[in-house]
């Protein structure tokens, strides 16, 4: 029980990652697979932010004087995530446009019905 209350953020992040992976592995609909990728992404962002967390920490911004540098959360994961989110949107758009093209070509986005995709 102690583990649950101490590690809520890690558990949440890895739950999202596992749910995303499950959707990618199991679902037949290509759009749902793309949604799975998006959930997987979100889990990774949450995990990275959690790594840099400090209890009762403040944002790493010296907006006024007298802020304690030792009480600030780690800025490096935040910097990583802020670029990753924007890239995630662009990659998601690329995936969606490929799905649209697959629909236009095969007339379906069911991965089991596309012969070249079957495995």
């Amino acid at each position: 029980m102690n583990f649950l209350s101490e590690y809520t953020y890690y558990i949440g992040a890895f739950s999202l990652i596992i749910i995303g992976l499950y959707i990618i592995l199991v679902k037949k609909n290509l759009m749902k697979v793309i949604i799975g990728f998006s959930i997987f992404d979100t889990g990774i962002y949450l995990f990275l932010i959690t790594v840099g967390y400090l209890r009762e920490g403040t944002a790493p911004v010296f907006s006024k004087s007298g802020l304690d540098a030792g009480k600030m959360v780690d800025p490096v994961p935040q910097a990583l995530v802020l670029t990753a989110i924007v890239i995630g949107v662009a990659v998601l758009a690329l995936a969606v446009i490929l799905a649209i093209k697959i629909y236009a070509h095969y007339g379906t986005i069911n991965l089991r019905k596309i012969k070249e995709q079957r495995w």
């Binding site: 992976l21 592995l25 959690t50 400090l54 600030m72 490096v76 990753a84 924007v86 446009i97």
Partner: protein, 232 residues
């Protein structure tokens, strides 16, 4: 069958993750990578927002790589759409209602203003080129949804995008020539906390903001154009 195998595999992965993360202390102070940046960041870069100092100054070269990934994704999207020749038809577009139309036209400059503010204050307050660029692109998304039929000029968005990328690389190369390092901060740092400070950091973030904003707006434009074609 497939579901069962997936669940077993994911169960193994989850157990492994559980074993390893239960060893990591959560939220405890200790040796961290960012400690140096927090303690010395304001002195070294002149930016009060340490995240910006990390993104643009300490990890500036990585940011250039990430902007390149963004560019590649946008270019790939354009290339995939370009495979099919565009038909020069003008489908009849049902206009949005007057309230939606007026609301969009009223909100569009306000959202643009907020986006620009977030971009140019990136070194002082939370925000920066990536976030502000996304806000600017959301203004264009609102325009596409509310005022149907309006389009951004493709050449303009491409031009701004290239300008942003070029500005980033030019600033980096100028630093290389003056200081011997790529993205060397060759402008005076100024007084930390004022708008014109931190040397080249606001300029680079302005370039990133231009690039991200025009790229995301271009992506929205491409997607809407393509779905219009499909629905015909």
């Amino acid at each position: 069958m497939r579901k069962l195998i997936s669940i077993i595999l994911l169960g193994i992965v989850a157990t492994g993750l559980f074993m390893s993360i239960s060893q990591i202390p959560f939220g405890e102070p200790g040796e961290r990578m960012g400690d140096h940046f927090i303690r010395e960041g304001v002195k070294e870069t002149g930016a009060t927002n340490i995240v910006t100092a990390v993104v643009v100054s300490y990890r500036g070269f990585d940011t250039l790589g990430e902007v390149t990934v963004l560019f590649t994704a946008a270019m790939g999207l354009g290339a995939v759409i370009g495979l099919v020749r565009r038909k020069k038809t003008h489908p009849v577009i049902e206009p949005a209602s007057l309230i939606v139309y007026t609301g969009c036209r009223f909100l569009f400059p306000v959202i643009l203003l907020v986006g620009t503010y977030i971009v140019i204050h990136g070194h002082l307050t939370p925000g920066g080129g990536f976030q502000g660029g996304a806000v600017v692109a959301s203004a264009f998304l609102l325009m596409y949804l509310g005022c149907r039929g309006k389009r951004i000029r493709e050449n303009l968005s491409r031009g701004l995008e290239s300008l942003g990328g070029l500005l980033f690389i030019l600033l980096g190369v100028t630093g290389l020539l003056i200081g011997g390092d790529f993205l060397f901060n060759f402008l005076p740092l100024g007084e930390a906390g004022t708008l014109i400070s931190a040397g080249i950091i606001p300029l680079i973030y302005l370039a990133v903001g231009l690039k991200v904003g025009s790229e995301l707006a271009g992506i929205i434009d491409h997607l809407i154009e393509n779905t219009d074609e499909l629905s015909e």
